[in-house]
Amino acid sequence: MTKDIVSEIKRDYLHNLAENGRREDGRNFNDTRPISIELGLIESAEGSARVKLGQTDLIAGVKINLGEPFPDTPDKGVLTTNAELLPMASPEFELGPPRENAIELARVVDRGIRESQALNIDKLCISPEEKVWIVFIDIHVLDYDGNLFDAATLGAISALTNTVIPASRFEEGEDYQLEVQHIPIACTIAKLGKTLLVDPKLDEEKICEARLTVTTDENGDIRAMQKGNDGYFEVDELKSAIKMAQEVAKNIRGQFTFLQPTAQ
């Protein structure tokens, strides 16, 4: 994601636009691109969602296995998140084991889900020290036009809301719906010069000095944050960014009825 790919001309153009209160695609600074979510498209998965955020396109799939708990949390289920930046998604993505960017993406999504306590991992324990459900979230990025953090977090939580625990396959009783206690929504703010803007598309993401991903729950509480790039935020910018993120997340929640906890 080197900045050299976007030419200096493009950089100046986008900065000038921003100084004049505008964005290349006509959005306001606090507008996201159009979001579409298709649920349950993968029958082989326990839960799934395809998210399109503008032209960023990805699938999140949930698979659930029976396994052993970690020794230091013998009475809790296991959650594990992986992201694949498929080489089909961008000429910049390469074959091979996940690089830095894929690892960061997976870890930021994971923290959003984990720290919001979206899942009750106590309930994923069947028999302490012996048998627990292992929840795998796999993000496959198909087309990359910026802001994977928000799209991937949205994919992950959406897939979880339609996940069925395949208990019968493992002879552990009947299948049942996975409970989702909280709905984390990630919102990424990019900083261009003095401007803060929401949901950066690829060109904006490449030239922004800094970005901040803020994942909030349905109460607006902060559950995870990640600053990126070699630029900086001042304290006031940071506070504004968080408030923007809270607003946007609320807005996204309103667009999709399934983005609601199924359990308390």
């Binding site: 029958e43 698979k63 296995n65 992986n82 089909m88 496959h140 087309d143 036009d145």
Partner: protein, 287 residues
């Protein structure tokens, strides 16, 4: 592959999913489904769901793979972790390495690789949901993606498998049949030229069974070829797609100096091309 008690074909010759012995599963192909790739396509073949994307001709990495006299075609077949019953560990395994190799060989035959020396044409096949027959479905959709990318090629490549269940030769096994089937015979067959570009087989077949399976596969590939062409027709304007498909029809007559209209939209424009059209995105060619 194992034989078992389960009955897979009933007395009237109908299979578990209601098909006859020589009947394909429903196949839908859509061309041009991704933004970044130079070409792309999506296939639903029964419960298989597969995306293909093409990048290139472009620079070769690592450079020692570069061929000074022609392009290389590198297909990479990959299964999503969630595409199968038990989660698959992400990344290429031995099976996907082999499938990638045989698909690459087939694609290399139809692409006019000599026009793009020192480059690679990369084809990524991503299995989103798998239900037996993914290598054939992957190859089928990959050749539509190559056409969508405007890569000049001799032909589209339809592919299909036959198998053997309850001791009968049948077409296009789905997963439950594959689990209990006695043989699997995937091929890629180009109807217009009669060329077999991919062939693998495992299981147990007499020569006569093989012969029967081959007959079925030849017919099936003709059917799939039509579906591939229709996908391109739906994607491009009537006029453009007719020219495009006519070109493919005649391309085995065409000398290298008369490339198919399919070419164009490539990073490295071929010197000898007479018509360069970007038939991938926007403009008059789009539906």
């Amino acid at each position: 592959m194992m034989t078992d008690e389960i009955q897979l074909i009933d007395e009237s010759g109908i299979r578990l999913d209601g098909r006859r012995a020589d009947e394909l599963r429903p196949i839908k192909i859509e061309a041009g489904v991704l933004k970044n790739a130079d070409g792309s396509a999506y296939i639903e073949w029964g419960k298989n769901k597969i995306l293909a994307a093409v990048y290139g001709p472009r620079e070769v990495h690592p450079r020692h793979l570069m061929n000074p006299s022609r392009a290389i075609v590198q297909c990479k077949y990959n299964m999503a972790a969630f595409s199968v019953g038990d989660r698959k560990r992400p990344g290429y395994d031995r099976r996907s390495v082999e499938i990638s190799k045989v698909i690459s060989d087939a694609m290399e035959h139809v692409v006019f690789t000599e026009r793009f020396p020192r480059t690679t044409i990369d084809v990524f096949i991503e299995v989103i949901q798998a239900n037996a027959g993914t290598r054939c479905a992957g190859l089928t959709v990959a050749s539509v993606a190559l056409a969508d990318a405007g890569i000049p090629m001799r032909d589209l490549v339809p592919s299909c498998a036959a198998g053997k269940i309850d001791n009968q030769v049948v077409l296009d096994l789905f997963k439950d049949e594959d689990n209990y089937g006695e043989a699997d015979l995937p091929i890629a067959y180009v109807p217009r030229t009669g060329k077999i570009l991919l062939l693998q087989m495992d299981g147990h077949m007499t020569y006569d069974e093989f012969d029967k399976a081959l007959d079925m596969l030849v017919s099936a590939c003709e059917e799939i070829y039509t579906i591939q062409r229709d996908a391109l027709r739906r994607k491009y304007s009537e006029d453009a797609s007719e020219k495009l498909l006519a070109e493919i029809q005649n391309s085995n007559l065409a000398s290298i100096e008369q490339p198919s209209i399919l070419e164009g939209s490539t990073d490295i424009p071929p010197e000898d091309s007479t018509i360069i059209t970007d038939n991938r995105k926007g403009g008059g060619f789009n539906d």
